[in-house]
Symmetry: C2
Subunit: 346 residues, 2 copies
């Protein structure tokens, strides 16, 4: 009567947690698993009474749907990959906020990746995120490594490249950095500054700051002026701005205006000028880029360019969502407008 397998009465100890599954909910509710699935995902397609029984069973068992299994079966995960070069920069944080709000409202979950301005790391992140069957991808910048570019080209889901303007892989939401730099340069010339220096931080990596410098340089050239530049080899911060001011005062004492690559640097310099007893703008004028709240609260208020950060995030999200819902996209390339904020610092 006993057989050879008697020593192993249970089929086999398997992996997996002991959490209730859809099947158990189905049994408890007296329906088939597929009906439970429908009751949870497309309630409209299920009879009201059945739905009630299902929700009851869910509550009673404390069932939490296994989203991983669902994603595998449906080959889509409601993840949106977001890849930015830095979290230290308030600009990206605000863009992310815009993205987060727009996507969360539609039930998408953001997977956040941070490249630290390293294209190798960017490629790695893209690979990983593709592995999660993301529904879409938002990435900062138009420049990627060749391998990464190839990976993205064959990926047939919506992609937004943001922050800068240009023709990219798929969708694009950005602002014209060259024009922004030119704009501020024009303003400084209008105010009769003639010895203008540009100060940036890590511009080999933050190449968008370099694009602004190009615009700046072009305008100065048209006015027959040189466009000297100082590059710091540390990321922008208030402290770095203070250091930069010292460098300018020492190396180019006749400078009458500094065009900073961002508000952190500019505000740091402005506060440092106060400590040094320098008048802004009488002794030296200071301009920034981004329009962070900070710059608008110091005295004198910082002249800067308001970049629409949350808006950029929101627009990027809307473009992706439009694609995902098969809605028409009128313009694959969105030029987000910026605004010049004239403070008293110039």
């Amino acid at each position: 009567m006993s057989n050879m397998e008697a020593s192993s009465p249970e089929p086999r100890k398997r992996r997996g947690s002991d959490k209730p599954t859809l099947k158990q909910v189905a049994e408890a509710a007296g329906v088939s698993p597929i009906t439970v699935s429908r009751a949870l995902n497309t309630p409209g397609r299920v009879n009201k009474e059945t739905r009630r029984r299902v929700t009851e069973a869910v509550e009673q068992l404390g069932y939490v749907p296994n989203l991983i299994a669902g994603s595998l079966a449906s080959a889509s995960s409601r993840f949106i990959a977001v890849i930015v070069p830095s979290l230290a920069n308030a600009v990206f944080i605000e863009v992310i906020k815009g993205l987060q709000e727009a996507f969360e409202a539609k039930g998408y979950q953001i997977l956040l990746g941070n490249t630290d301005y390293d294209l190798q790391r960017e490629h790695q992140l893209v690979r990983t995120f593709l592995g999660w069957s993301c529904s879409g991808l938002v990435i900062a910048g138009l420049r990627h490594s060749k391998a990464c570019q190839g990976l993205l080209e064959t990926w047939n889901k919506p992609i937004v490249e943001m922050m800068e303007l240009g023709k990219g892989l798929d969708l694009n939401v950005g602002l014209d950095h060259r024009e922004a730099g030119a704009c501020m340069a024009r303003h400084l010339l209008d105010r009769h500054y003639r010895s203008i220096i540009y100060v940036g931080a890590c511009m080999d990596r933050d190449y968008r700051a370099n694009m602004r410098y190009e615009g700046h340089k072009e305008i100065l050239a048209q006015a027959g002026l040189e466009a000297p530049i100082i590059e710091l080899d540390r990321l922008g911060s208030l402290e770095a701005g203070a250091v930069a001011l010292d460098m300018v005062l020492e190396q180019c004492p006749r400078t009458d205006a500094i065009h900073f690559a961002n508000d952190d640097l500019a505000t740091g310099a402005l506060l440092h000028a106060q400590r040094l007893g320098l008048g802004v703008p009488q002794d030296i004028a200071i301009a920034g880029f981004n329009g962070l709240p900070l710059g608008q609260q110091v005295t004198p208020r910082l002249t800067t360019i308001q970049s629409p950060r949350e808006t950029m995030g929101r627009l990027a999200a809307e473009q992706i969502l439009r694609r995902l819902n098969d809605e028409p996209i009128t313009d694959k390339q969105l030029n987000v407008a910026f605004r010049t904020l004239i403070g008293e610092s110039t």
Copy 2:
């Protein structure tokens, strides 16, 4: 010869993308799928030559592992859920940075959720994240809705509740807000301020600010002083700080010191005082909480309390990682030290 099924020669059009799978890599490399899996996940367990053939096939096919399938099969996802009340606050951003760096280095991916200080939303996020089979959870605060608490209690993976100190569900990393508030109150008394007002923002939601107020109140009471408080009904910001200063000047003109719930408010007030031509600290002293860089760059420097934000994130991550690696945990409750930064604003 023909049969009834002839009209459907192919088995059936199935879902799923056309991306290469592990199986195809295995065929290309002339090994079994399981060997490919091992070659990718535990290269040490595979012969060197076999490994080479596999990597070659991977490269050639452009294979990207489907992490969703892997997670389902292994019932673990290398996701870490991180739930914070707000992304608008620089404090949480820095904590997240600390978490991100520590987890990313070990190959974990953060799933970020934002409750907007809403316990209902928190519960919803926890449910969703549990559905992703996260390996661990980091959540801000010790207070959760009852349902959420229940869900977490039965979840047998590492949890860190952070930001505040106390006995929680599992692990805890935080600072003693009551003591921090007391500390600053003592400092203000030392400096002979006697008419001290506390100013907070949305303290029903930001209850940790309230804990600091409790500490503040206790110290003042010991000195026989009242502890008046003004609560703003908007979140902390530079602008809100300016508004708050106006309120204090109007409602309690004899105030000689303001203890703000955070640096944003305090710095906003400080800058506004300058605009009004008020001397800080001669006319009014100002103190904050957090030790954000901003407050250390204004003149006078802000007196504040340095909360170890990135450290808190890093420590939280380390606790989780220790659990995940079955390393011993000496203390389930970590009290992160804070430091009083005395500026010239008091």
